[in-house]
Symmetry: C2
Subunit: 158 residues, 2 copies
Amino acid sequence: MTEKKAFQDYYADEVSYCYGCGRLNDKGLQIKSYWDGEEAVCTYRPLAHHMAIPGFVYGGLIASLIDCHSTGTAAAAAYRAENRGMDTEPAHRFVTASLHVDYLRPTPIEAGLTIRARVEEMSGRKVIVSSRLLADDELCARGEAVLVRMPEKWLVNR
Amino acid sequence: MTEKKAFQDYYADEVSYCYGCGRLNDKGLQIKSYWDGEEAVCTYRPLAHHMAIPGFVYGGLIASLIDCHSTGTAAAAAYRAENRGMDTEPAHRFVTASLHVDYLRPTPIEAGLTIRARVEEMSGRKVIVSSRLLADDELCARGEAVLVRMPEKWLVNR
C-alpha cells in the first residue's frame, strides 16, 4: 500500500496558505480532495461554531467548502487531461471566477459532510465544476463554480 | 446622539449564534450591517489567516460576508416595508436559498472591505439582494442572494 495524497498535498508551498484548502494555514479548514472515479470527493466535519442557527451549518462554510474543493478538482482534472501526475511540472492552479450555491435544505451540523464534484466543461483557461453537498447521504446543497487559470503574475512581485 | 444599533443587534438570542453574523458566536465574524439610504452597508477587515494566496482574501470569506449581510438586509427591508422598527414584533428573519458571487479581481487582504447591498425584489416570502464588495473603494466582487423567510419550525423542536 502506498500513502494516498490529496490534491492539496501537491500544491507548492507558496500557494498552500489558503484558509479553505492550504495545508500550511494552521487556522484554516485544510480540506482534502481525492478522486473517486470521475468524481472528486471531499469530506468535512463541521465544528460547533460553524453554525447558522443551532443545529445547522452556516451557509458560508458550505460555500467555502464547495469553492476550495472546486479549485482543487479543476487543477487535478487539468493534470488528468494531460495524463500526468500532480507531482509533475508545469503546475496547474486555478482560482474562482464565479461561485453559485443552491441551499436545498438545512444542513445538520452534527452530520459528516461529503462534497462530490464533477468537471462539466474544460476549455482553454476555464473549467466548470458542479458539486453536490451531502450530509450523511442526504443532498443539502448544490454548487457550480467557474474556475480560471491563476495568472502567473499573482505569484510574482508579491 | 443615540447609539446606533446594527441589524444583527436586534436578532433574538436564539438566532444570534451564526458564525457569520451572530453577536453571540465568539469565534465567528460578527459582521454588522446598517442602512445608508437605500443601501445596507457592512464593513469588515480581514484577518491575516483569511488569505487565498499571500496578499489576497480567500473567496469563501467573501461569500460568507455577502451571505450574512444579505440575510440581514432582507430582514431589515421587511421591517422597513412595514414602516416599523426592528425592535417590534413579529420578528422577520431570512435564510439563504441561493448565493451567487462573481469574483471580478483579487481582493487585497490589507484593505478595508465594504459590502454595499440593495434589495432588488421583495415578494411574499422571497427577497433578492444584490451586493458589491469593495476593497478600499475598488470593486472586487459582486453578489446576488435569494433569501426566503426562515420557517418557524426551524426554531422549534431543536
